[in-house]
């Protein structure tokens, strides 16, 4: 039944008016202004204007690092913060990588992404209280970090910049297997710049994995113990446990680094 693709209507099967409509529908997207604003909000560099400039959009484009804009970001996300937590958790925690996207693909089908508890195998009990929610995370992270490091000029600016935070941790994540030392350096940078960041838990998981892959098992265990004590409800606890008991992670080199997709 599914062998061989069907001829598409746009290839003439649906009559000229339908083909034309389909072709037009294929070209839709945000306007140039909307696109520029989206890029700015996502921390992407401003695109070179193609031909004409857009003075009208200039005022509405917020600079990526505008902390006011970013501060409102997580609040504005509302429910989606929960999706981020659930989806993100699946990504960060699930060891066999192929399992993570399934979690994402399935989440939409069960519409209440945040209401329905995700499969127990994927995510630990903590999902009732999403890991990524601006206020709780901040209040959890603040007391200790700020007491320890009172003067951190960088963190003042970047504290409420989740995009930059994500980018930094994404970089760290991408180095874990290929260059754990580099990942640890980035983790340290995150610790310093985002003392009260909302992704502290994710950072710790990266750190633990990077330490294990660097052969620093004792340090990894100490960090894991601190993590467990500090985030007893964390959705990442399972991941941490798996990491510590996974011979592949301790025995570096036996695991093939993530293959680039492009």
């Amino acid at each position: 039944m599914t062998e061989g693709e069907l001829k598409r209507l746009a290839d003439g099967g649906g009559g000229p008016e339908l083909s034309a409509g389909i072709a037009l529908a294929r070209d839709e997207g945000p306007s140039a202004e909307q696109r520029a604003r989206l890029r700015a909000k996502l921390g992407l560099p401003v695109e070179a204007p193609a031909g004409k400039s857009e003075p009208s959009s200039a005022s509405s484009v917020e600079p990526p690092a505008s902390s006011a804009a970013m501060k409102s970001l997580l609040a504005k996300l509302g429910v989606s913060a929960a999706i981020l937590a659930v989806a993100g958790t699946a990504y960060w925690t699930w060891l066999p990588r192929q399992a993570a996207p399934r979690a994402l693909n399935e989440a939409p089908r069960a519409e209440p992404v945040s209401a329905r508890p995700p499969p127990a195998a994927l995510i630990a009990p903590a999902t009732a209280e999403p890991a990524l929610r601006a206020e709780p995370a901040r209040s959890r992270a603040m007391p200790r970090r700020e007491a320890k490091k009172p003067a951190e000029p960088a963190s003042e600016v970047a504290a409420a910049d989740p995009t930059a935070e994500l980018t930094l941790l994404r970089r760290a994540r991408s180095h874990v297997r290929s260059a754990p030392a580099r990942a640890l350096a980035l983790v340290a940078e995150h610790e310093q710049r985002f003392a009260s960041g909302v992704l502290a838990e994710e950072r710790e998981v990266i750190a633990i994995e990077a330490l294990l892959l660097s052969g620093e098992r004792a340090a990894a265990e100490a960090r894991a113990a601190a993590f467990t004590a500090r985030y007893p409800q964390s959705a990442h606890l399972r991941r941490v446990r798996v990491l510590l008991s996974d011979p592949d992670v301790s025995d570096q080199g036996s695991r093939v680094p993530a293959t680039p997709t492009r």
């Binding site: 039944m1 599914t2 746009a10 008016e17 945000p30 939409p108 519409e111 994404r170 993530a258 997709t261």
Partner: protein
Amino acid sequence: MTQGSVDFEEVFTAHADFAWRSLRRLGVAERDLEDVCQEVFMIVLRGLDSFEARSSIKTWIYGICRGVAANHRRKGSNARELPDQARVDLAAAEPPFEVRGADSALGDRQLIEALLGRLSLEQREVFVLYEIEELTMREVSAAISCPEDTAYSRLKAARRAIEAELRRLRAQRRVA
């Protein structure tokens, strides 16, 4: 932002339009598209490192769009059955049957949106991904997490519905 194995900016550049129109067809109101699209790409950004080309990045992004759109719909006040464009009165879509002049492009587009609006969300999804976005049936089934056979029958049902609607409109024009 080039440290990851897949570059976020490239992904955004290549798929922002796709995500945008997908969200719109998934029922996100025009006024909310920008925010919702931002949410989608925040999730993409966060998951990109873990993404591997099991299927296509497009189907992965579509899965995220579905989840975010579904949540958006659940927020109550945003609940709506159909995209704005789909609310276009079918009467407004009639001109292309007769007038194929300067403004026929607008008419064609209204027509397709109006026809899409007649489909159930399930059928519309498959129809849009296959006919408009030109995914393969395998990708379609991955994107909406359903067996290929199911996607195939939804497509057939969608086509039947659309063809019937077209026939009806053509007949109407002849009578009028």
